[in-house]
Amino acid sequence: MALLSKKDSKLILDPLTDNNPITIQVLGICSALAITAELKASIVMAISVLFVLGLGNVVISLMRNIIPSKIRIIVQLVVVATLVIIVDQVLKAFAYELSKTLSVFVGLIITNCIIMGRFEAFALGNGPWRSFLDGVGNAAGYGIILVIVGFFRELFGSGTLLGFKVLGDPIEKTGIYAIGYENNGFMLLSPMALIVVGIIIWVQRSRNKALIED
């Protein structure tokens, strides 16, 4: 027997590709542009959102029948704020440098449209297990784009990956720097992140014509 039924595995796989929160729904762009200059920050951000969204979806789904619909936004905010504070404190305790790099953007996970969007659109109407899968799927879809953007921006902008000098040393002129290569400073600026996201969207839509809307 398969681990997940066909319907359930769709919940995880769809947001990774054809219903990606960033490239198709164009949500969560703000943090995708701000913190993707380094691969490490992108990965930590992706994991943080995975934690918040996965757990948050389960909590909201468990409470879905007792939340009065008039105040459901407040309740959702309380849930997501609690989870974000946990993430923030953990990062500050165990990865202080990184939490300084991510700065305000950890706190701003609260305002990430993907999270409130999934609470509203999915967790309020589905059981905890399916909500959990949906949360994980969407966070992974968000994370995969963050990691791709972070990979290219760090590689071409700083010549490193996760801090390792994969292209050589720009100051001592080793590796490909010896033949005159230089880092692309534009890659470190946020506009380039937008362009990289745009290129991913372009590639994705030209491979799957069904996604093109007029």
Partner: protein, 408 residues
């Protein structure tokens, strides 16, 4: 059977093949196509897009040739091998084969890389999308080598051209659909991606970068300073160039933008052939003059102290702004780009005025980006459709009012 009809037969035989646009592009570049317009109403005119483009290129050729002489002249002058120019263009220090060859061998590769990479991408896109190769890159390809420093590494130029043509133009739908001027997109990319090669006092004179490396390695040589006039003004120093040197262009700068005289001639040529818009050129100059005068008044009124970091550029006589830096080149050859500029006559006045106005504003207030004209034109490119929209709306409203008065 002549060559011409042979080529046409060849084209007929291979109709529908994937690579045909590539053949067709070269074919129509050299020969007139055989087919005539069919269908309804059409305007008969001798000039097509290629002729328009070629006219602009012709207007830029003097700047290119002058740029080659100037590159060699600046190089030799910085090395202390020749005296500075005394008799204008016909100075024996300037008009030498040696100067020309130094510049020629530095600038020709820039032209080749610009055209080779840019047209290569145009061909690839035409084949993928299955349309004819568009002529849009002809002018861009000539502009690009004229607006970069002479020592820019070729691979950087190639990367920037790929970026500019793909991101600046092709994803919007190719020639005629782009929002931003592709040549300026290429330059802006270089500027933000590789600032050490695009600004400072080492990149404008051929050989200065290498010289500074040798000095860093311990060689006992004098450093070459190739500070541009804008650069030294931003630091509050008076540049040691005379007005005639600035106007004729014997100053360090990007390859083709130094000679205000030749740019003026090119501009007049464009106006005479009705290819460039005189409205944009004139209003842009007016905008720059107004901004320059405002700054002069501020300085005269004593609002700003001499110690201020803006003093040097604010104190620059208003009309000097027109002949230093890239302002003249940008105004004549890039602000007038018919695709990215405003289309309506009133819109052209507003657009041009703001280009000039903002150029000087950026130039003075942000010495880190001395080339304000690049950013000003890109900014106004973005606003051009908005300006047109309101001009058209205003016109509609005016006519509606007139209609109402009549019917009442």
């Amino acid at each position: 059977m002549g060559l011409k009809s042979k080529l046409h037969n060849f084209k007929e035989k291979n109709r529908g093949k994937k690579w045909l646009p590539a053949f067709s592009a070269i074919h129509t570049f050299l020969f007139l196509p055989n087919d005539t317009t069919h269908g309804g109403t059409h305007i008969k005119a001798a000039d097509d897009l290629k002729r328009t483009m070629n006219t602009v290129i012709m207007a830029m050729i003097p700047c290119l040739i002058f740029g080659m002489f100037n590159a060699g002249y600046q190089h030799h002058l910085a090395l202390g091998e020749i005296q500075s120019v005394t008799q204008g263009f016909f100075s024996p220090e300037f008009w030498t084969m040696d100067n020309f060859l130094v510049g020629f061998w530095k600038i020709l590769p820039l032209v080749i890389v610009s055209y080779g990479v840019g047209l290569g991408i145009e061909f690839i896109f035409a084949i993928i999308k299955g349309h004819e190769v568009e002529e849009g890159y002809l002018v861009t390809g000539m502009l690009v080598p004229l607006i970069v420093p002479v020592d820019i590494p070729l691979w950087m130029l190639a990367v920037a051209v790929v970026f500019g043509v793909v991101i600046g133009k092709e994803i919007f739908g190719g020639t005629g659909m782009n929002i931003l001027n592709p040549a300026l997109t290429i330059r802006a990319f270089l500027f933000f991606a590789y600032p050490t090669w695009m600004s400072g006092d080492k990149v404008w004179v051929h050989g200065a970068v290498e010289r500074s490396k040798e000095i860093a390695a311990g060689a006992n040589l004098d450093a070459i300073s190739g500070e541009t006039i804008l650069g030294s003004l931003a630091q509050g120093q008076q540049p040691d160039y005379s007005i005639s040197e600035m106007f004729l262009g014997f100053i360090p700068g990007s390859v083709g933008e130094t000679s205000a005289l030749l740019i003026l001639l090119g501009g007049l040529f464009l106006i005479f052939t009705k290819i460039g818009s005189w409205r944009i050129m004139l209003s842009s100059v007016l905008g720059a003059i107004v901004m320059g005068l405002i700054f002069n008044v501020i300085v005269d009124a004593g609002i700003i102290s001499e110690g201020s970091k803006f003093f040097g550029l604010m104190n620059t006589t208003w009309w000097h702004h027109l002949i230093i830096g890239g302002f003249a080149f940008g105004t004549v050859f890039m602000a007038t780009d018919p695709v990215t500029a405003s289309q309506t006559n009133k819109g052209k006045w507003i657009y041009g005025f703001l280009v000039g106005f903002i150029s000087i504003l950026i130039r003075v207030f942000n010495p880190a980006y001395p080339e304000g004209v690049m950013l000003a034109i890109l900014l106004m490119n973005v606003f051009a459709p908005t300006i047109d929209h309101y001009v058209v709306r205003g016109n509609v409203r005016k006519r509606m009012k007139r209609l109402k008065v009549k019917t009442v």
